[in-house]
Amino acid sequence: MARALIRRLLFGVIAVAGVVVLAFLLEFVVPGDPAKAIAPRAQSPAVLASIRAQLHLNQPLIVQFADYFGSLLRGNLGTSYIQRQSVASLIGPRLLTTGVLALAGVVAEVVIGGTLGILATLYGRVRALVSAVNLTLLAIPIFVLGLLLLLVFGFQLAVAPVTGGAGPAQLVLPALTLGLIGAPWYAQIVADQMQDSLASSYVRTAVSKGLSDSYILRRHVLRNVLSPAITMIGLDLGSYLSGVVTVEVVFVWPGIGLLAVDSLHNLDRPIVMGTVIVGAIAVVFFNLVADVLRMFVDPRTGEEL
């Protein structure tokens, strides 16, 4: 098993390296001159040229990349063009803020989706309703749902804060947005798994042992449903994190996603690169975590991992 983990880790490193190359190239496809972004009022070409020289932007792309990659290997993410601060020190605190939102969103989608899935399986009457809710949620783009919630709960009902920030009150709506967007997937997977599990031979055994329905659900069915749900969290992580970025922008949640988007506007390339790299590492890392977690829930996966 340790071997399998190491192999996965190796693949993860390769994936991150690939992301670095790709992101670096994309940076230079984006039109715009960072020097102008740094000194928007500077008119003289000489000043702009000196800024470009200072940032080594006048060197060939391959040299710039080698410089960047070299310092990256030494653990240095570079310095922000605009804020004149190390990228690591900018990203660090934001990472925690994003982590809080991402975690709250995962909890929300698992709780909402799981509840919908369980209700749909156990109560035939609400099945159609749950399907309708699922379809509706699947059809709404995440930023539309975010704005809608903001409009209704923030402006109309005024029960949620509309100013950005990272407080507990500001957390509710973005987490709810993430939860609602992700919920249909979990609802589906939970409903499917539960149906399989309820029809399974081991549930019949449990019935033959005279165990109550609620006991069987808790001790025999839910554990079998949990494992694919956790796998889902792992698989879904990439697209989930892109959702987090969108939600951060909509709700002005000061996380790494908002930082990335702001920096993209400012052509602050080191920060954009830093956020992309950190995001890629996060995806690889949490996929591993999901695998390990699944192994604890479902002992059979230990062998196949």
């Binding site: 399974s200 031979s201 081991y202 019949r204 055994t205 449990a206 019935v207 033959s208 042992k209 005279g210 165990l211 109550s212 006991y215 001790r219 025999h220 554990r223 079998n224 494992s227 829930v297 479902d298 002992p299 059979r300 062998e303």
Partner: protein
Amino acid sequence: MTPGQPEQAPALEITDLNVRYGPVHAVRDACLTVGAGQVVALIGETGSGKSSLALAAARLLPSSAAVTGQVAIAGRDVSALGGSAFRRVRASLLGCIAQDAMAALNPVVPVGRQVGELFAVHAGMSRPQAAEAAVAALAQVEIRHPAAVARLYPHQLSGGMRQRVMIAMAMALAPPLIVADEPTTALDVSTQAEILALIGELRARMRSGFLWITHDMGVVAELADWAAVMYAGRIVEQGPVDVIFDAPAHPYTEGLLATRRDLRSGAPGAPLFQIRGSPPGPAELPPGCPFAPRCPRATATCTEVDPPLEPAGSTGGHEAACHHPGTGADQKAGAKVAAAEAGAAEAGDHLGTAGTVTL
């Protein structure tokens, strides 16, 4: 073979049991008794209704099945009990052993806990007490290192061990009735023999009655006291095992025995005996005897009137549903050889393993 003592209520008494799945009449008017401590073999091919009958007796059929009739376990009419009332008593009344223990055990729960929850839920034991009782139950079914095995998951056990765990669960509360659905079919031959020997021992010790579904006439000859043969949803013949083997009255039973006789003593290369045709679908039963289209003795009456189950021969309890029951005279000699061979061969198989079994 010890018949149940007269004052003891039979382990299972089924009266006029019918099972319907929509238009499909899977079990028709079945009456069957498993005496206390007796093993009753329920024989029949796939689709004959034997599993439906057994599952109906154990109340394990899905709610889509319509079940009518009476089921009494250890003298207690359980068909009158409501769902939750039955649930509370079911584990102490009957245990179930499934065919495929791999599927029948929860893959993500350690086997010790799966056994232990019986004690926790029904005997009111605390978790550690139940865990201890589970280890003891695993030791009862001759699992070595039961404490270590209790912590393992089903996929970490061998097929034989898994079946032993199933048996430990079925017998945990020493119920008067065990419903066993081809418990040895999925096992290899030597494991099969071990499991049969184990069940034989436990049965002698716990005096549980068995309703044993099987295709295997060797198992029937060795283990069963009584045999009931099902065809197209009906019990077409039942009686003491030696009578069934010696003097089958129903031509279908004769056919089943003949197929086995050919396997045991047929000349090499000679074609095996087979019952011609195939059983009718349960939704398109012919009028009259359902076996008539395949029956060598069928007459005009057979295609018109479905024969009732009536006493056959002189042996007590032997019944057959046939207009032209065999007297046993013509096939007696051959059948006896087959039965004796079956018993001897199976007993021989078990002698080797019985020696290694230690308690």
